[in-house]
Each structure stands twice: as C-alpha cells, then as structure tokens.
C-alpha cells in the first residue's frame, strides 16, 4: 500500500447543509484527506455521507463551513466549481453512463470537450483504461448491453480518463448483483495502490479493512469516528461506532 503524503487534498471544516425543505443533512462535518490517501466513509443510511462527498465536487451546495479541494476554495464562484470538477472524478451508485454513447465515447466525451485534447490521443488512452478495467472488448457496445459490474467498471474508467487527482465513490457496489461486487472492488483495490486519492462511501467491510488508510463513521450529519481500519473495526472509541458495527458485522 502506498503511503499518503502530507499534502492536503480535501479539507472540509464544520460543513453544514440544509435542504430546501428545511432538513439539515450536515451538522458541522469535518474531514481532511491527504494526497494518495484512501478514506472510506461508513455510516447508517441518512447519516449524510453521500451528501458529504457530493459537496466535494459541488454537486451539492452547503450553507456554513468551508471546503478546500486541491487548493481550490469551494465557493459560489462558478469558475472554481468547474476547476474543481476537472480535478475530481466521481463514480455513482447508479453508474450514470451515457446510454446514447458507445462505451468508448463515454470515456472520450469529457477529455475532448473539456480538456480540448485531440480525439485520437484520448481514444488511445481510453483503450488502455478499458484494458486496465478488463473490458476492452466491449468498447464498441452501448451501456445497455453490459452487465451492472461491467457498467460500473466503465464508469470508473470514464472518471479516470479525465486524469483526476481525486476520485469520489458514492456507494459504487450498492446496486450491483452480489456476484458482480467483487470485480468492481478489485478494480478499486488496484487503483488504491496508485497515487490517486480516493474517498469511498461504502458498506463493504472487507474493502474498508484491507484497502483504506482510514475509516470514518458518519452519523446524523457529523463525522463521529475517524481511525485506522484495524482500530476502527476492533477497538473504536465511540459508543455510536460500536452500535453501528454491531449492526453490520
């Protein structure tokens, strides 16, 4: 496992968010992620973990606190938001592949449009990425023709094709059939061995134990516990964490 550097990639301080209906999803959540680090966020449903990581690339706004991503302060400035999104890739629970584009075009769309790179060059990179996630032979197909596990691997390759410095995973295996979970986790595990910074919201205990540098428990819109996996799963310091682990283990 590569060791994270001391450089801060994500710094979220006392983030509070209310939804328009008045519900407060985040109540002063704190998190720092260093470069190369793999952080797993766990927690009961409704604890705000998805909302939290969605604030990191401005898919959700927030009302109080501050978030700095890769040195860019997230504010209402649209230019900042675009800059952050170029550096942060995201993998969704529902894959969200573009169904009207072939697998290859799913990968090349953003680098060509956003980074203005020549199409031929991006395609070469896309082939290499598809090879890496083990689905190069599906490049010409449409997402609807692939299994869930294959689609999620394409989604990871699509995010990687933008060469992000941070990858966010929002429950990447939660809508997969059980037999497909492993192929996706393997891809993620291989990624974790590289330089890339990862923040993963997941319920996969094995992944958290063996791949994460740090495991975080969120409950009621707050970060309750933050510890190395070994400590987190065997000797957590908070009652709340123990209760959560009792329920899932």
């Amino acid at each position: 496992m590569s060791q994270p550097s001391s450089e801060l990639m994500i710094e979220a301080r006392a983030v509070e968010k209310w939804y328009p209906n008045g519900f407060q999803a985040l109540r002063g959540a704190n998190l720092t992620v260093r470069r190369g680090e793999v952080v797993v966020i766990m927690g009961p449903s409704g604890s705000g973990k998805s909302t939290f990581i969605r604030t990191f690339n401005a898919l959700e706004d927030f009302q109080k606190g501050s978030i700095t991503v890769d040195g860019i302060v997230l504010s209402n400035d649209l230019r900042n938001i675009d800059a952050v999104r170029r550096e942060v890739g995201m993998v969704f629970q529902q894959f969200n592949l573009f169904p009207h584009l072939s697998v290859l075009d799913n990968l090349t769309l953003a680098p060509v449009l956003v980074r203005k790179r020549p199409k031929a060059e991006v395609e070469q990179q896309a082939w290499a990425l598809l090879e890496r996630v083990g689905i190069a032979e599906q490049a010409g197909k449409y997402p609807g023709q692939l299994s869930g596990g294959q689609q999620q691997r394409v989604a990871i390759a699509r995010a990687l094709c933008m060469e992000p410095r941070i990858l966010l995973f929002d429950e990447p295996t939660s809508s997969l059939d059980p037999e497909m979970v492993r192929e996706v986790l393997e891809v993620m595990q291989n990624l974790a061995a590289e330089e890339i910074t990862m923040v993963v919201v997941t319920h996969e205990v094995k992944f958290a134990r063996h791949v994460a540098h740090r495991v975080v428990l969120m409950a009621d819109g707050e970060v309750v516990e933050e510890a190395e996996p070994e400590v987190f799963f065997t000797n957590p310091s908070h009652q709340r964490t123990r209760r959560f682990l009792d329920q899932i283990l």
């Binding site: 675009d82 969704f92 969200n96 573009f98 956003v114 933008m162």
Partner: protein, 403 residues
C-alpha cells in the same frame, strides 16, 4: 396457395365467433369499397383536378416564372436522392440486416412505377408528364451515385453534405420570392401545395429551436425565465389557433414599424411558428423529464459546463424520447396550415375553395376534397416514415444484445 388458405383460416376463421365477425367486417369493407369505386369511376368527374392541377400545385404563381419552381423541385429531388443514397452507403454497423438492400431496391422500383403511372392516370400533357419522368430518373441516378461513391465520405464530409439542406432552403426562398437578379414574385401570388409546404416547413424549422428553449426555460432555476416560459406556453395552449391567426393579422402590423410589418403570409407563418413552439416545448419537456437526474450530474462531475452537458448528454436522450411526440406536432402543424384559408390565404384548402366556387365545377366537391386528403396524407405519411426511420437509427436500446 394451401399455405395461404391455412393462414386465412387460422387468422380469420379460427372459431365461430371469429368467423362471424370476419364475415361481417369483410362484407362491410367490400360494400364501402364497391361504393367508392363505383363513384370514383362512374360518377366522379376528375376534370376538376386535371384542369386545375397547376393551381393546386402552386396557386397563381406567374406562368412565365414557373420554371423557377421546376428548378427548385429538381434541386430538392436531387438532394433527396443523394441523401437517400448516402444513408444507404452508411448503414449503422450493427444494422446491416439481410433485408435492407432488397427492400431498398424494391422501394426504388415501386417509386418509379408510381411516378411512371401517375402522370398517365392524371392524363397530364406529355410535356408535364415528361418532366416528372425526368425528375424520377434524376432521383434514381442521384441515389445511385451517392450510394456508389458516398461510402468514401468521412464523417466530417457527411456533416458538410448535410449542410446542403439548409443552403437549399435559402436557395428555394430566393427562387420562390425572387431577388438576386430574379423577378420578384410577391407572396400574394403564392398558393396551393407550394404555400402549404412553405408555411409548414418554415414553422417546423423555427418552432423547433424555440420550443427547445421554452422547454429548458420552463425547467430553469431562474424564476423570471421559468415563469415567462410557463406563461407563454399556457397562454398559447389555451387559445385556439384561429383566434391567434386573426390576432396576428391585426396586431403584428401595429407592433412593428410600417416598413417592417411582414406580409400577410409571413405574419401567418410566424403565428404558426409561435403556436407550434408552445406545444413542442411540452413535448420536449416530457423528454427532458425522462432523462434521469444522474445523467446531468455525471456530465457535470466530468467537468462539462451546463450548456455542454445539455448539448451532448441530456438533449440527445430527451429528444430521442420525445421524437414521436415532436413529429406528431409537426404533422398537426402541417394540417393546421389549412386554417390559413380562413384568413384569406390561398394555400391548398383556400385554392380548393376558389376552385369549387367556380360555376364550371359546381358540385365537384367530393373529387376536390378527396384529392386534398390524399395530398395531405402523402405529406404526413412521409413525415411519419422519416420519423420512424430516424427513431430506429437513434435507438441504442434496440440493439441486439449479443455478447
């Protein structure tokens, strides 16, 4: 023969009830058909259509300038043939079924037969019939040429080739109205099928972008834009087209300074456009609603700006979903042009009414209306066929899911 009998039996006479129903229906249909044929061949006097065929086609367009319309028709047909050939030269790689080359040739033969027989059946003069035959040959030749050499065209070349159509539209405008060295033919002299197609194509082309913008406006986060779009759409949808047409004739003249007030025909065409745009916006909105929110989020999280995400991710999917509804709108728009006759414009129906008012053709309403119905049906059927072909070409879900 035996096979046919067996099939008939299975499909029409499987049970007693089936057989009874089939017999009743068959006799009703036969009665209707016999009655119609007897009328068409014994009582009907088709002279009213033959004598006035030019009037139905182009209205009172000056005879000495009609060569321009023939030229335009020839250009349109050449472009259609070339487009047809190009599409055939670039089938979707997953769609090279066994049937299409044969069906395609069948279509050519059928079309040629109709084009050969129709001028004869209508008893057109040899000069006119000859032109139609020439145009048919042009269509077939262009299709063949494009099919033969079009495969070499790169995607960029294909996009360039598609530009022929908008250019042709502008050329057509000049040919019809004059200018650039051609004698001006004032819109008051336009009429017949030409005016119908002109007004409806104008409205179809312009209502599309306006409708898409209205649909986006209705979903916008900016309250002013949203409420403006809602107000516009609901107002237009709540008013009958005919009142809007009369309104347009009356107030567009006041709204715009004297010289700029468009001619009556253009006023009507703009009213049609704005009317259709409101309905189109609702069709597009239903398409937008069918695209999951995650699509926009995925596009945005990849760094695409909002307009780029719309253009490349959301709209292609939304328009694909809305396509049948959109084409349905286009078809009713085409039919709505008949209302122009009520504000005194001589489009197809208006022309027909002047013909029927002529004492020489008294009582020939059946022949005239039937011809009109067939002409409209032909245009609408063409739109419908085109839309279905487009749907098939665009639908990635219809792909065979071979692994």
């Amino acid at each position: 023969m035996k096979h046919l009998l067996r099939r008939l039996r299975a499909e029409l006479f499987a049970t007693r009830a089936d057989a009874a129903l089939s017999l009743v229906l068959i006799s009703l249909i036969s009665l209707g058909a016999i009655g119609f044929l007897r009328w068409a061949f014994t009582q009907a006097q088709w002279a009213v259509v033959k004598v006035n065929s030019t009037l139905f086609a182009v209205g009172r367009y000056p005879v000495e300038q009609q060569w321009r319309l023939w030229l335009l028709t020839a250009l349109l047909i050449a472009a259609s043939g070339a487009t047809w050939g190009l599409i055939r030269a670039h089938p979707r790689p997953d769609r090279t079924g066994v049937l299409w080359p044969r069906n395609d040739r069948l279509a050519v033969v059928l079309l040629s037969l109709i084009a050969l027989a129709l001028p004869l059946a209508l008893d057109l003069s040899l000069a006119i019939a000859g032109r139609w035959w020439g145009l048919t040959v042009l269509l077939v030749v262009c299709r063949w040429l494009a099919g033969r050499f079009g495969a070499r065209l790169s995607p960029a070349g294909q996009r360039l080739a598609a530009l022929v159509w908008p250019v042709l539209y502008l050329v057509g405008m000049v040919l019809i109205s004059g200018g650039l060295g051609l004698v001006t033919v004032s819109p008051s002299e336009w009429g017949g099928l030409m005016l119908t197609l002109l007004a409806s194509s104008f409205a179809i082309l312009l209502c599309f972008p306006i409708g898409v913008l209205l649909a986006l406006g209705r979903r916008s986060d900016l309250p002013l834009l949203r409420w403006g779009s809602v107000l516009y759409i609901e107002f237009i949808r709540g008013a009958p087209l005919i009142t809007l047409l009369f309104l347009g004739q009356n107030i567009l003249g006041f709204l715009l300074p004297g010289g700029l007030a468009p001619d009556r025909i253009w006023r009507a065409a703009w009213v049609l456009t704005f009317f259709a745009a409101a309905y189109l916006a609702e069709a597009v909105r239903s398409g937008l609603a069918a695209v999951p929110r995650g699509q926009l989020e995925a596009a945005r999280s990849l760094g695409l700006s909002y307009p780029k995400a719309l253009q490349h991710v959301v709209l292609p999917q939304a328009l694909r979903v809305a396509l049948p509804a959109i084409v349905g709108q286009f078809i009713s728009l085409l039919q709505d042009t008949t209302l122009l006759s009520l504000i005194g414009l001589l489009e197809l129906l208006g022309t027909a009414r002047t013909v029927m008012a002529n004492p020489a053709f008294l009582g020939r309403n059946g022949e005239v209306y039937l011809t009109l119905a067939l002409l409209f049906w032909g245009c609408c059927a063409a739109l419908g066929l085109g839309s279905r072909a487009l749907e098939r070409r665009l639908d990635p879900h219809a792909l065979p899911s071979a692994t």
